[in-house]
């Protein structure tokens, strides 16, 4: 293998100078490689760390905030949820199936590393236009990669999102979230405790795969990316399943002092992280690492990103029992080194010392860049674009076009490939509600899970869009009756070295942080994926929010399907007349512009409280959040799900129907309820200061919009169901 220069490894000249300063000498090739992966954006967060500081990370429910493999929140009764979201964008762009599959493997390891049993996966996907043949391949590959890996592990994939936009042409986003359940006293941390404790490596053998994956993930995608292909890893879900079961047995028997998965930057990163926690040092002997290929150099062993490996630091005297458990599961565990007290990361090849660097230099020593953001010109241009002059589209036609938009159409093609019921906890499955709901066996409790981000809104106004992503996630949880607890996030952006992109990051994070603070949902974990761009430009800024919520009594939950004829349809929240950033503008006019609807955090918070109260009091029969496609599509989706029609009376004479029906202003939901419950709803709404509007009634098999006795929309639910149901399937035939 040809040796790379520091530049080819992705280090800047001043960074190389810094390394010379730290070591007081030239690093050898191995040491240089270790610095380069640890100081990559992917591992070192060198461009994002200063911005992440703005996130609120504390709250009474938070057991563990950012800084560990995953965040942990309390759900009472001595139980906690462990969760995190992570990107696998670059690998998936190159090899969609394996890229996505190993993405699942990675995030699942982060969860059981904390001692938690993974109970659910979600994923947030972004692709270019579905008209494009390569995009179809990417979608098919990514979805089957996620499915094959997650299904084989026996972890249900219960939710997520899929969006299509030209902004992701050539640079798809694959973000995977995993949620685990743990007994609070069994939470495991990645701490290297006492000096002299051995380091055990367990799981797959080490091969040459994925060397410099972390560096690769920290660069833009170019045609040269294709040549880096040998770095693609192949996933082995069966091995991972064995690791899950074996590691959880170790935790149950309290045998480990520290546990760390091997992810980006492989052994280098996991050992450094395990050791950095208590200013310990480590020595490791690469000759002991079981290899898959002959002739691997220490450099290759230390940087390999072979999947399905774990690092275990046993409690004193427990090595024997640990070996027994691994043996039961047919896994090989090898002693590869030990914890030392000198703060140094020493790499040996047999007796020969082949590399030595201070642990802290690799971790905390990573340089940090505080950059200057610069507002791009498109921002004001879009905010000021005049949408009033657009001729109004025929409402019925617009609804049909929107239902056929892949961003709104049924995602059945995707989620039917995921096993979403294994573990028999999934109470609301994909497509049934705004969030997935799982029961916690042996209790009354339920948990609700969602991922959200409307990236077009973030692009048009990163500050508002950032707030919207958090609000939508929280609202989606409230729509099923859950109290939002905390969030994880995956910050997908272009190059931070571009001041306009840096501005997007600053603004989006400012918005997310403010919303998270106001809604009481601190940030407990996350991941950053930068340099998502191709020659054609950067992706839409896409800060995906994953959020978890708690349902006190699982019997009191709510789905989105309309239930019974005669029920009242009510809008909770204000009527808004604005089209900025809407799917309607995109689908009907090909426009992605406008002033985005402004978020009112106070109102959002009151709406969430109201929803939790209404559902807990069992006053709602359906509840659905207004997002892409606006009020009209929210109603249509509830109708399609419930196989029931409805009739709406138009009360807003003289106003533009499209502005009201297709506005994507946040802070609003559509509910249905028994007429007798209207008074109770009314008094609760008054109490929480949420305005509401009675829209009409459930009934018949058609969607009817009536204005002064004239039916201006009259569509058969069956036809709408067909359009909505077949859109993605047709593209994927």
């Amino acid at each position: 293998m040809k040796e790379l220069t520091y530049k080819e490894m992705g280090l800047l000249e001043e960074e190389y100078e810094q390394i010379l300063g730290i070591l007081g000498r030239k690093p050898n090739y191995l040491e240089l490689g270790m610095f380069s992966v640890m100081w990559s954006e992917h591992c070192g967060y060198k461009n994002s760390r200063p911005l992440l500081k703005n996130f609120p990370t504390e709250g009474p429910q938070v057991i563990q905030g950012p800084g560990e493999n995953a965040g942990v929140v309390d759900i009472g009764d001595g139980q906690a949820l462990v969760f995190k979201i992570e990107s696998h964008n670059h690998p998936s762009a190159i090899e969609p199936y394996q890229g996505a599959a190993t993405g699942i493997g990675g995030i699942v390891r982060d969860i059981f590393t904390m001692g938690a049993r993974p109970i659910a996966c979600l994923n947030s996907l972004r692709f270019g236009s579905l008209e494009d043949e390569r995009v179809k391949e990417l979608l098919a590959g990514v979805v089957s990669g996620i499915a094959d890996y997650g299904n084989c592990l026996g972890i249900p994939t219960v939710g997520g999102e899929v969006y299509f936009n030209r902004a992701y042409q050539g640079n798809p986003l694959v973000n995977a979230m995993c949620v685990g359940l743990v007994n609070t006293q069994e939470i495991a941390y990645a701490t290297a405790s006492e000096i002299g404790r051995p380091l055990m490596l367990v799981g797959a053998k080490t091969g040459r795969d994925g060397i410099h994956g972390a560096t690769f993930a920290s660069e833009g995608l170019s045609s040269a990316s294709a040549q880096k292909r040998p770095s693609v890893q192949v996933g082995d879900p069966f091995m991972e399943k064995l690791l899950i079961e074996a590691c959880l047995e170790l935790i149950k028997e309290d045998l480990v002092a520290g546990m760390q998965d091997l992810g980006a930057a492989g052994l280098t990163s996991s050992i450094a992280e395990a050791a950095s926690k208590k200013e310990r040092g480590v020595k490791v002997d690469v000759s002991r690492v079981p290899r898959r290929e002959a002739g691997m150099t220490p450099y290759e062993v230390m940087l390999s990103e072979s999947q399905e490996r774990m690092l275990i630091i046993p409690r004193a005297g427990k090595e024997g029992r640990i070996a027994e458990i691994f043996d039961k599961w047919g896994l090989d565990a090898t002693l590869i080194g030990e914890v030392t007290g000198d703060g140094l990361f020493k790499v040996y090849d047999g007796d020969v010392l082949v590399g030595e660097v201070p642990v802290a230099a690799l971790t905390e020593g990573c340089p940090v860049y505080v950059r200057e953001g610069l507002e791009p010109s498109y921002y004001e241009e879009c905010r000021n674009s005049n949408l009033e002059e657009l001729l109004e589209y025929d409402t019925g036609e617009a609804i049909k076009l929107l239902l056929a938009s892949p961003n709104i159409a049924s995602k059945h093609w995707v989620y039917s490939q995921y096993d979403h019921q294994v573990m028999i906890n999934t109470v609301l499955v994909p497509g049934e509600a705004d969030a997935a709901v799982l029961r916690i066996k042996g209790s009354q409790k339920g948990v609700a899970l969602t991922t959200d981000c409307n990236a077009r809104m973030v692009y048009l106004d990163p500050y508002q869009g950032g707030m919207m992503a958090v609000c939508e996630a929280a609202r989606n949880l409230a729509c099923v009756g859950a109290r939002p607890l905390a969030l994880t996030n995956c910050l997908n952006f272009g190059s931070p070295e571009n001041p306009h992109i840096y501005w997007q990051m600053q603004e989006a994070i400012r918005g997310m942080a403010e919303a998270a603070r106001k809604l009481g949902t601190p940030v407990v974990s996350g991941n950053v994926s930068l340099y998502n761009e191709t020659a054609a430009g950067a992706i839409f800024p896409t800060p995906v929010v994953g959020m978890v919520g708690l349902i006190k009594n699982i019997e009191h939950r709510c789905g989105m399907a309309l239930q019974d004829e005669g029920d009242l349809l009510v809008l909770l929240g204000p009527i808004r007349e604005e089209l900025g950033g809407s799917e309607y503008l995109q689908v009907c006019y090909g426009l992605e512009t406008g002033r985005v609807p402004q978020v009112d955090l106070q109102a959002e918070s009151r709406l969430i409280e109201l929803l939790i109260s209404l559902i807990d009091a069992r006053l709602l029969k359906s509840c659905h959040d207004i997002s892409e496609g606006g009020l009209a599509i929210a109603l249509a989706e509830s109708a399609i799900k419930g196989k029931k029609g409805f009739r709406i009376k138009w009360e807003w004479r003289g106003k533009r129907k499209d502005q009201i029906l297709f506005s994507e202003a946040p802070g609003r939901v559509v509910v249905s309820l028994n007429e007798e419950d209207l008074a109770s709803l009314s008094s609760l709404a008054t109490q929480y200061e949420v305005e509401f509007h009675i829209l009409g009634r459930v009934g018949s098999e058609r969607m009817i919009l009536e204005e002064e006795g004239i039916e201006c929309v009259n569509l058969a639910i069956q036809d709408m169901t067909r359009i909505w149901g077949e859109a993605i399937e047709c593209h994927m035939k």
């Binding site: 299904n151 026996g154 082995d236 039917s416 096993d419 019921q421 028999i424 109470v427």
Partner: protein, 232 residues
């Protein structure tokens, strides 16, 4: 009465079956590790769903050689009730306890969704709680459930009444349109000649509690218990 749930490396519905027998059916149940070599004191065995050995090579092909399998075969031989669900069904096929083999779904995709099944007869240990020709709803979740056997075997199974469940519409139409995976003769579940071994692709344990969306699966376990109590 004692149920045993066999755990292979890669099984992942083992806990689900265990939960349903223990918490929903309220009957004694134990896990049986695949490395065990003998079985005693069990009245019924469940081979659960999942991806034993990653389903590498062919579904169920490697698990079929697990140390426990000879004991499972003896148990079946002696007339004990054996229920193979999904991957369990595939293992029973590979082991030759049931005839035929599985091919990949005709769509080549994993499919997870509820389907309708027709109960072809209700005079069996596994279906006595249903009405004959009753249509029930139970979810499937598999990538290889496309059942195949040669024409002679199919005829034999038909003659012997070994086909217990077939895919159908909500109204009981057994046409290709309602066949989710391309399975021969819409087969979703078959028994051995003696009728004490059942393999089925749908997951009854997933529809055994109302909160999970349905309860038709409950009746399969209830039938087994009923039959065991009747006999015992």
């Amino acid at each position: 009465m004692r149920f045993g749930v066999v755990v292979f490396p890669g099984s992942n519905c083992d806990r689900d079956c265990y939960h349903v027998i223990k918490e929903v059916m309220e009957e004694p149940v134990e896990y049986i590790w695949h490395k065990e070599k003998s079985l005693s004191g069990f009245d019924a065995l469940i081979l659960p769903g999942g991806f034993s050995y990653g389903d590498y090579l062919r579904t169920g092909a490697i698990a079929r050689f697990s140390p426990i399998m000879p004991a499972v075969m003896d148990f079946a031989q002696a007339g004990g009730l054996v229920l193979g669900i999904c991957n369990g069904f595939q293992i029973l096929l590979e082991a030759g306890l049931l005839p035929g083999a599985m091919l990949r779904n005709s769509s080549l995709k994993f499919i997870c969704q509820p389907v309708f099944l027709k109960i072809q007869r209700n005079d069996t240990p596994f279906s006595n709680k249903f009405k004959s020709m009753q249509v029930v709803k139970i979810p499937i979740a598999h990538g290889e459930g496309n059942y195949y056997c040669d024409p002679r075997t199919l005829q034999e199974m038909k003659d012997n009444g070994q086909i217990l469940f077939t895919y159908c519409s909500a109204d009981g139409e057994e046409t290709m349109e309602y066949n989710p995976n391309g399975s021969l003769a819409n087969i979703a579940g078959i028994m051995n000649g003696k009728g004490n071994v059942l393999g089925m692709m749908p997951h009854p344990e997933r529809y055994s509690e109302d909160i999970l969306g349905g309860r038709d699966g409950f009746n399969i376990f209830a039938s087994m218990i009923n039959w065991l109590k009747g006999v015992g």
